[in-house]
């Protein structure tokens, strides 16, 4: 197994643990079971990754970007179909489903807060399981087409790169058929740091 494969395996492990934690906190936040599945850990050509999102045609979404700063910086993105963000708002506020009908500060704030809570669940895994200190920055909320949201996320994180290492996951809120996506993108020297940790293990 070469170094890049080892790093990929290490990231897959971190991603799996992070996702388990994120599932727990998401379920607690919205009081409904949520199941998060790791879809993929892969090295992607930036243009191809963006193209894949465009092809998936997810329409407009509400998302939260969070910078995870510290020993191993990552960029975190969470997004949900715009229509489903209304349902998540009702769940967060314990309101009858269908109560929230239009986009307002509480809808964007729900996505902001879920982004914050999920990102914190990820940093919790880094800290507790790997003694890697990180902290989330305040989330930035966006409402746009999925391809635009993803494009901004990926370009900002990897402006000087042609290829990036992506951790992609998808989760479903049980019985609601709400599909959300979560991405974790190593930035700066994170891949190198991870490689040295793997090599030392």
């Amino acid at each position: 197994m070469d170094e890049s494969q080892q790093v990929q395996r290490a990231l897959q492990l971190i991603a799996n643990l992070s996702i388990d934690k994120a599932s727990q906190v998401l379920s607690k936040s919205i009081k409904v079971g949520a199941k998060i599945e790791l879809e993929n850990v892969y090295v992607a050509d930036i243009s191809k990754a963006t193209e894949a999102i465009m092809v998936s045609d997810e329409g407009d979404v509400v998302g939260a970007y969070v910078d995870l700063v510290g020993d191993m910086p990552f960029k975190f993105l969470f997004y949900v179909a715009a229509e489903d963000s209304l349902t998540l708002t009702d769940l967060m506020l314990r309101k009858e489903l269908g109560t929230t009908k239009k986009f307002d500060i509480y809808v964007t704030s729900t996505v902001q807060e879920l982004g914050n809570i999920l990102a914190s669940a990820v940093t919790n895994v880094f800290a507790s399981d790997f003694q890697i200190k990180m902290r989330p920055s305040p989330p930035k909320v966006v409402h746009d087409y999925a391809s635009t949201v993803f494009g901004e996320y990926i370009m900002e994180a990897a402006a000087d790169l042609n290829e990036i290492l992506m951790i992609e996951s998808q989760f479903r809120v049980v019985r609601m058929n709400i599909k959300c996506r979560m991405f974790l993108l190593p930035t700066g020297d994170t891949q190198k740091t991870l490689a040295s940790i793997v090599a030392a293990a």
Binding site: V25, L93, S109, T110, Q112, E113, N124, R135
Partner: protein
């Protein structure tokens, strides 16, 4: 007379959730909401509330800095920190500085109530 509370969080939904819990509980009046630490310090000096609930990660001025400023101004201030799961270091710092209690997000209504009641000496 209801006890006067200021909620501080950059997420309006968290401020609303805390306000709903305290309103339902009765005996508390949320007199102001702030979206960052700087506003919180100003509002504290202006309104002298009985208690603040204070988020940690916020733009402009975070909850730790705001706590320091408020305690410098009023060492007897009662501040309950509100934090997401992985803010252990920041939380410990807040407790060392003099925060009264803390709530971890996502939170249950009971936990918000008990933290506020305990801080204000209302817990029976």
């Amino acid at each position: 007379m209801p006890k006067r509370i200021i909620t501080v969080d950059d997420a309006p939904i968290i401020r609303l959730m805390i306000k709903d819990v305290l309103t339902e509980c009765g005996g508390y009046d949320v007199i102001a909401e702030c979206s960052n630490g700087r506003e919180a310090v100003e509002k504290y000096k202006e309104l002298k509330p009985d208690l603040l609930t204070m988020d940690i990660v916020m733009p402009e001025m975070d909850g730790i800095q705001a706590l320091e400023e408020i305690l410098k101004y009023d060492p007897a201030a009662k501040v309950v920190m509100v934090t997401a799961i992985d803010q252990r270091d920041a939380l410990m710092k807040a407790i060392r500085l003099g925060a009264t209690d803390y709530i971890v997000k996502p939170f249950e209504a009971d936990r918000v109530m008990s933290a506020v009641q305990k801080a204000l000496g209302d817990l029976k």
